[in-house]
């Protein structure tokens, strides 16, 4: 039990992302309201973004903007510079997630105009009629 606790505390960032991800996953699968499903999707995507960003953390390191003369003289001390790649990747992932949300909201608008509701059960009822 002690070992498990210290494991969780040492890697708490990953546990937070797993919990967030499961919240999002639950919302997507269990909620009957389409907007709530979309919220779930956003939480899910954010959890993965946080995972990448927290994987890129380096304690005591600075932003990766280097002084040219200093680098030429002393070289780069990798421990003092954060790797920018995970953040850059996540900028792209955020763009993707925003576009998906945009398309989904547009489609939800069409659904609402046609059926007058965003509850999945009610929509299916109306389709059957």
């Amino acid at each position: 039990m002690d070992g498990l606790m210290s494991e969780i505390v040492a890697k708490y960032n990953y546990w937070i992302y797993v919990i967030l991800m499961m919240i999002g996953f639950y919302a997507m699968l269990a909620k009957r309201n389409l907007v709530k499903k979309l919220f779930g999707l956003n939480i899910f995507q954010t959890a993965i973004i946080l995972m990448f960003v927290s994987a890129g953390v380096k304690h005591g390191a600075k932003i990766p903007i280097l002084d040219k003369h200093e680098v030429l003289e002393h070289g780069v001390n990798v421990a003092q510079v954060v790797n920018p790649l995970p953040h850059v990747l996540m900028l792209t992932a955020i763009v993707v997630s925003v576009s998906v949300t945009g398309v989904a909201l547009a489609i939800l608008q069409r659904i609402y105009r046609r059926y007058g509701t965003l509850e999945e059960d009610e929509i299916l009822e109306k389709i059957k009629e």
């Binding site: 998906v100 989904a104 659904i111």
Partner: protein, 494 residues
């Protein structure tokens, strides 16, 4: 110029999309020449790339001259060159029918439709070429987002189907991204070749297995591998006819190609197949189950398009099973089946477009007497049906032959039985339609069809006949295709 040709394959549809969107606003008459021009040039470039690869072998290209593993690498080998030709050919042929049916269905929104359509094709070309795991994720989402839009343009419950597809598709993409994240944390690189290079040092790690499982499940949802297929039948059968003609033949097949890419360019066959034979065995079992269940579900449908969507799900089972048989016969069959299934699905969805343009409904009851009314269309349908069943000399026979040989070689009898069973079910499915369309007359309470012969419009009929002839030609050309392209693409160690 010739060294960059593959970039043109990818860039021409993209530029076409921009032009269609800008110029289509002023005049809808500009849309068809722009779409066809971009796709025809892209197809020509793809053919040139394939002949170049056959002559000089595979090569890789660094975009913007950023050296890998820092820059994004494009890989042009035998398999990707073959896929480029396949995708651009199918896209070109399908676009004729799409142009016709979209002009009817979505009269004033043609330019929007074809903007998305061309971006989708550019995204598919990008997926085929990319040698970067994260780039693959971005392109996967580009193709998916455009598909969501194309499907949502349909009538009836299409927006709802499209929304369900968004949820499932995004979960899939997130799973893939998560797998890439694990690999990145382990190896510190995103370039596929570089990951493969570092792979032996991290091989035993549990995180590698997790990454592999996430990436694989993500791709399986995207390709609608049973039991993760729930979104596909609704999404593809509610979409506009013009969307189905393009999306149904290409999306699932390109995703199967991606699975092959990830399995053999990032991970190694040794790791997947031989370290955990239980997993490999289980996946072939699931594939066999997928084939049987999807075939049975197809039997329950009374609408031609719905039935075809379930057949697509069954065919995905063929290909996944073939890849996981872990021998070169099975993989050859799976790659050959990607080509053949794309053409068969194209042929049958063109038939759907043709029938929809004349009859309207695709319900079985409305198909009576079609052989008399649309003889050429139904002749092409018969060829497509024979290919799906696997009658020689149509191409469907040869890939099934390789798959069955691979199954026997691997001793995977359930998979072999599932293949034979599915062929029988396909025979039942298609002969049922042939019976309705050929023998049953309109005497049983249906509105008599106007006129004796009313073929589909030329814009649909010509591509359809071309696709039907292609089914037989590709079948006859199986030998050279396998010898010169696919055998080379099968990785060593199998």
């Amino acid at each position: 110029m010739t060294g960059n040709l593959h970039i043109y394959v990818l860039a021409l549809p993209l530029v076409g999309a921009l032009l269609v969107n800008l110029l289509g606003r002023y005049s809808l008459r500009l849309v068809p020449p722009l779409v066809l021009g971009a796709l025809a040039l892209s197809f020509a470039a793809a053919l040139k790339v394939l002949s170049g690869v056959l002559e000089h072998g595979a090569f890789s290209y660094t975009v913007g001259n950023w050296q890998p593993p820092f820059g994004i690498e494009l890989v042009v080998d035998h398999l990707s060159a073959l896929m480029l030709v396949l995708v651009s050919a199918v896209a070109l042929v399908a676009s004729f029918a799409s142009l016709h049916s979209v002009a009817r269905e979505l009269a004033d929104r043609q330019q929007h439709f074809f903007t998305l359509y061309l971006i989708l094709i550019a995204g598919l070309h990008g997926l085929i070429l990319t040698g970067d795991a994260f780039n693959l994720y971005v392109l996967l989402e580009i193709t998916s987002i455009t598909t969501y839009g194309l499907i949502a343009m349909g009538r009836g419950r299409a927006p709802l189907s499209s929304f369900n597809y968004i949820i499932m598709g995004s979960i899939a993409a997130c799973f893939y991204l998560l797998g890439v994240g694990y690999l990145y944390i382990l190896t510190g690189t995103l370039n596929m070749a570089d990951i493969a290079h570092i792979f032996p040092t991290v091989q035993g790690n549990v995180a590698v297995a997790t990454a592999f499982a996430f990436m694989l499940i993500g791709l399986w949802i995207k390709m609608a591998f049973f039991p993760l297929h729930g979104w596909l039948p609704r999404a593809y059968s509610d979409a506009p006819i013009g969307t189905g003609v393009l999306v149904a033949p290409l999306m699932t097949k390109v995703t199967v190609y991606l699975m092959i890419r990830v399995m053999f360019s990032v991970f190694t066959p040794q790791y997947e197949f031989f370290q955990h034979p239980g997993v490999q065995n289980a996946i072939v079992w699931v594939a066999a189950l997928a084939i049987v269940c999807a075939s049975i579900l197809a039997l329950g449908q009374r609408d031609l398009r719905r039935m075809l969507t379930y057949i697509i799900v069954a065919e995905v089972g063929y290909m996944v099973g073939g890849v996981w048989l872990a021998n070169s016969q099975g993989l050859t069959g799976a790659i050959l089946h990607i080509v053949n299934d794309a053409l068969m699905t194209l042929c049958l969805f063109l038939v759907v477009a043709a029938i929809a343009s004349r009859v309207g409904s695709l319900h079985f009851d409305n198909l009576t007497g079609l052989y008399r009314k649309m003889p050429l269309t139904m002749a092409a349908f018969t060829v497509g049906a024979f290919a799906m069943i696997g009658v020689p000399p149509t191409c469907g026979f040869y890939s099934k032959w390789y798959l069955i040989l691979g199954g026997i070689e691997a001793g995977q009898w359930p998979y072999v039985v599932a293949l034979v069973f599915s062929s029988l079910v396909n025979a039942v499915l298609f002969f049922r339609i042939i019976e309705i369309a050929y023998f049953r007359t309109e005497g049983d309470g249906h509105v008599p069809l106007p006129g004796p012969i009313a073929e589909a419009p030329q814009m649909i009929l010509q591509p359809l006949l071309l696709a039907a002839v292609a089914l037989i030609l590709v079948g006859l050309a199986t030998g050279p295709l396998v010898e010169q392209v696919i055998r080379v693409a099968v990785p060593g160690g199998l």
